[in-house]
Amino acid sequence: MSTTEPTARIPASLRTEALEQLLTERGLVDPAVMDKFIANYETNVGPLNGAKVVAKAWTDPEYKKRLLDDGTAAIKELGFAGPQGEHIVVVENTPTTHNVTVCTLCSCYPWPVLGLPPSWYKDPAYRARVVKEPRKVLSEMGLDLADDVEIIVRDSSSEVRWLVLPERPAGTENLSEEELVPLITRDALVGVAKVQAP
């Protein structure tokens, strides 16, 4: 590895500041609008939305049916819609079938229910490898699946977005919808983890 930075390289942070300044001084962007836009994705649009969808599906069989029939409409019932959520398909993980999602061409992700993607989802290693050796990749991420579990990888190459409905863990039969929500992680909604009982 080289120990010196190439002299031509300008840090992305400084280039971003330069771009914002160039556009702001010409009135092409409004920093206050940017602030609100960023805050929305930092606070409102995140995996808690997806956890609420799953907790409802686990506790309301009619909702679960609607969710698997028409994910977009059932998710909208809870008020979640917006960019990168035009058509969301929900697939159910079971003891014998395990779905895991990826976008090999960029990092497409169902923003209304999961927010912006985490770093590992955008990492070249995940994008490149999960479509070629998913069992190994999942194992590296801490999820060892039994040999008889069929893995289905979902590569999001169009505007269709995938959401995994994970298995409800044993030992949670007496928990309410509200009590289930904090157990449901983003990783389980992408399919690289299972939901654990408390």
């Binding site: 400084l14 971003t16 500041e17 960023i38 994705y41 960019p83 090999t104 190459s157 269709v160």
Partner: protein, 222 residues
């Protein structure tokens, strides 16, 4: 294109990063600014669209795509769209950045804007297609073995391979032409299921894979 963005099945990336539970949405402040600048200028300022953004990403060289991570590539793609539409002159961002760090730099003049002659026919990407779908659920189809010079959402790793139509998804505008402002050309979209051994050979792990493919990416298998 067969660029750096088409990563499916490529080797040499090392181990997958382990997920952490409470990762911040933006690891650094500039990432949020780059995210907002990209999305707030893509249509309204550059006069471009989401597919043109993805095409800008796939046109980046390896350094521009990888070295500053995900939002670094967003920033670089936003710059490409802004310079393509002549909102910014080439080199304008670097010149301003150098000025910001105290260098004596002459900035390029603001060019005459030259946005693409383009307007969407509706919001979003979903469209109605009057013609019936060419393929039915259960049909065997082959992804065309082509190597388009422009934008495409047909990744290399499925080209030439045979799968089965699993679901007919809502029709959508075709990224291949939409990214180049050459029309929406809405098509049927299919989730096609491939067996891992068809894609990666007899020694591959056993699994199934689905991917959404536009009708013109597919040919029938007799």
């Amino acid at each position: 294109m067969d660029g750096i963005a088409d990563m499916g099945g490529t080797d040499g990336w090392g181990a997958v990063a382990a997920p952490t539970r409470d990762e911040p949405v933006f690891a650094e402040t500039w990432e949020g600014r780059a995210f907002a600048l990209t999305l707030l200028t893509m249509g309204r300022v550059s006069g471009q669209n989401l597919d043109a953004f993805r095409h800008a990403l796939e046109r980046l060289d390896r350094t521009a795509y990888l070295d500053d991570g995900y939002y670094g590539r967003w920033l670089n793609a936003a710059e490409l769209m802004l310079t393509d539409s002549a909102i910014l002159a080439p080199g304008a961002i670097d010149a301003r950045a150098r000025k910001l760090r105290g260098e004596d730099v002459e900035e390029p003049p603001v060019p005459e804007p030259n946005k693409p002659d383009y307007a969407p026919t509706a919001a979003g990407s979903l469209r109605t297609v009057e013609d019936a779908p060419r393929f039915a659920v259960g049909d065997m189809v082959r992804a065309k073995d082509v190597s388009p010079a422009g934008h495409t959402r047909l990744p290399r790793y499925v080209r030439g391979h045979t799968g089965v139509v699993e679901v007919i998804q809502p029709a959508a505008l075709l990224p291949d032409t939409h990214a180049h402002f050459q029309g929406e050309n809405a098509q049927h979209v299919y989730s096609v299921r491939f067996d891992s051994h068809e894609l990666w050979g007899a020694d591959a792990e056993s699994f199934q894979l689905t991917i959404e493919l536009f009708e013109s990416y597919l040919e029938p298998v007799e």
